[in-house]
């Protein structure tokens, strides 16, 4: 069945559209009181990720409430380590914690490639969502990039420097590549299952791209993103590597349709470096703290800088949880109105 509003898919394929499509990273989340109501019924964030009906409910909320041009399945990039045999907990106000971080070959041997069954709850959430969305807008699937997943599995928790993870690249390059390959294989299976379950496009998030020097990004990050993009041909692919300002040109050469920009990446310069891809982004999420007038002005300036072709509007990172939802709506409405072709 055809998707009624398929602007995002057509734009991702490089087609000219009536206006620029728009969605917001972390649109399903704490900015919406309707999300907080659902979330509060459960003990923890991970419980919500594993409850297909409730995950579907919060996935669809921003379509109804904010009017975005796509839903993104409510989940977490860290379901992959868990499916590989490395469980984690989410500590309130602190973030994820892996009690058994990977540091040695012995640790690695305890892991497996994630199989279809271990992430069945995500497929189920996608099926429920697709049914309830009723083809109003496309559904985005996603996964973390192998380097970012590696960071958490080796460090064991969030960090500003991920020095344990980066240490392993220097001290145990073979072990690092083995782990990255296991994550990559797991991620390909995972994304293919998401596609089978119904997602219309996928995004790969490399949240910690920015902490690697370019030379290491080329060795330990990009080849695995490339493997994933080469393995997925069923739907369009978006690659968003936050902070990879020095690697934009190389990311532009990956087999994907769309490259996400963070808010530090100069739009005109990025267009020059990545001439053959559709670009996504990249309003500074902090702009949404400003007045409605400033939000409108900055959003228009962003649309002007990208131009009306080959662009998917978004923030340059996930929306901050304490942002007023009306400001997010203002961003979305401004894109919708201002980007209409004359």
């Amino acid at each position: 069945m055809a998707i009624k509003n398929d602007l995002l898919i057509r734009a991702a394929k490089g087609e000219k559209t009536e206006r620029t499509p728009v969605w917001v990273m972390r649109q399903a989340g704490r900015i919406l009181k309707e999300y907080r109501e659902v979330r509060n019924k459960l003990d923890g964030f991970i419980d919500l990720v594993k409850n297909p009906d409730m995950a579907a409910e919060v996935t669809i909320q921003p379509v109804d409430i904010l009017g975005v041009d796509a839903a993104i399945i409510f989940s977490d990039i860290l379901v992959i380590p868990e499916a590989m045999g490395l469980p984690y907990e989410m500590i309130e106000k602190k973030g994820p914690n892996f009690p058994n971080a990977i540091r040695t070959h012995r640790d690695l041997k305890k892991l497996k490639i994630a199989d279809e069954d271990s992430l069945g709850y995500v497929s189920e959430a996608i099926q429920v969502t697709k049914k309830q969305l009723n083809d109003r807008v496309p559904l985005i699937g996603f996964a973390g990039a192998p380097w970012t997943i590696f960071c958490y599995m080796v460090e064991g928790h969030g960090s500003k420097t991920f020095s344990e993870a980066r240490k392993m690249l220097y001290t145990e390059p073979d072990l690092s590549h083995q782990l990255l390959q296991m994550i990559t294989d797991s991620t390909i299976t995972y994304l293919k299952n998401q596609i089978t379950a119904g997602v219309d496009i996928v995004q790969v998030f490399d949240s910690w791209a920015g902490i690697l020097p370019e030379s290491h990004y080329d060795i330990f990050a990009l080849p695995y993103i490339r493997q994933i993009c080469d393995a997925i041909s069923e739907v369009p692919k978006i690659v968003f590597a936050k902070g990879a300002i020095a690697s934009r040109k190389s990311i532009g050469d990956v087999n994907c349709q769309v490259v996400g920009l963070d808010w530090n990446m100069n739009i005109r310069e990025s267009k020059g470096l990545i001439p053959f891809k559709v670009l996504q982004g990249n309003l500074d999420p902090a702009v949404l703290y400003a007045s409605f007038d400033v939000v409108k002005k900055e959003t228009k300036a962003m649309i002007d800088a990208f131009g009306k072709d080959r662009h998917i509007a978004n923030l340059g990172h996930g929306v901050y949880p304490d942002i007023n939802a009306d400001k997010v709506k203002c961003f979305i409405d401004t894109v919708k109105e201002y980007s209409v072709r004359g």
Copy 2:
């Protein structure tokens, strides 16, 4: 009296030197067991900063133990907010915390411009250090850049996004500029006092440069660094803006002699963007986790990329506290041997 080993000062001025000078950000610190012994005699980090004799002792340790070409006064960038009337505490394994963060005009009114007296303990530590160093190597003074200090004063603690600080730039630009100006005025007084007390060169650290979009860096960060550099003419100046990869060209236009590069900044590209300054940096600090052979190889590659002129060798960020001091020594010795002019 002339400094015996003045390689750093001559290199900073752009003069040709017999070899590349080398020092290490955070060289006086937890990597040295001799530091930990001194530190353990006191209750807290801030106590050490405020004890001139002990601060002098740990400042000189890396000169004796590691053989660096400069000492850097042991202190903390957050002494400035404290001198402005905003005290902080250092929470073990968590970092700094300001119980009264700045959010409103009312908060701002409680602050003052730091005066000479409030930071007398730093001047005293410098005087003791200079005496004990006995002109073996130059002594580096330093301060945080106004934007980085602003981050902590507004956010109240460390953060990955400093969204409260960035929020203020959008919601209260006038208040933001007032606070940045007060920090700048305090910092100029502070650095001038350090120079009077005896430092031979100063470095301005903009640790959180990388979280601002380029447009905001131009408005809220660079003009204040420029004021500081224009106000200091007694000694050479180093500006190190971590993560300011998109603003390198503008930083290169500031009135300083040396620009620091972080490990994500491509050396050859940076030389092209900043042709008229001496560059400092930029070995990935995680390289020091690797074997001695890898440390030597990577250090030589760095020297080759910078060339033997107009370079001060350093890491691309502070040394990680769990690095083996012998690896740091290996980095330093490799620079000293490999960079000798043929």
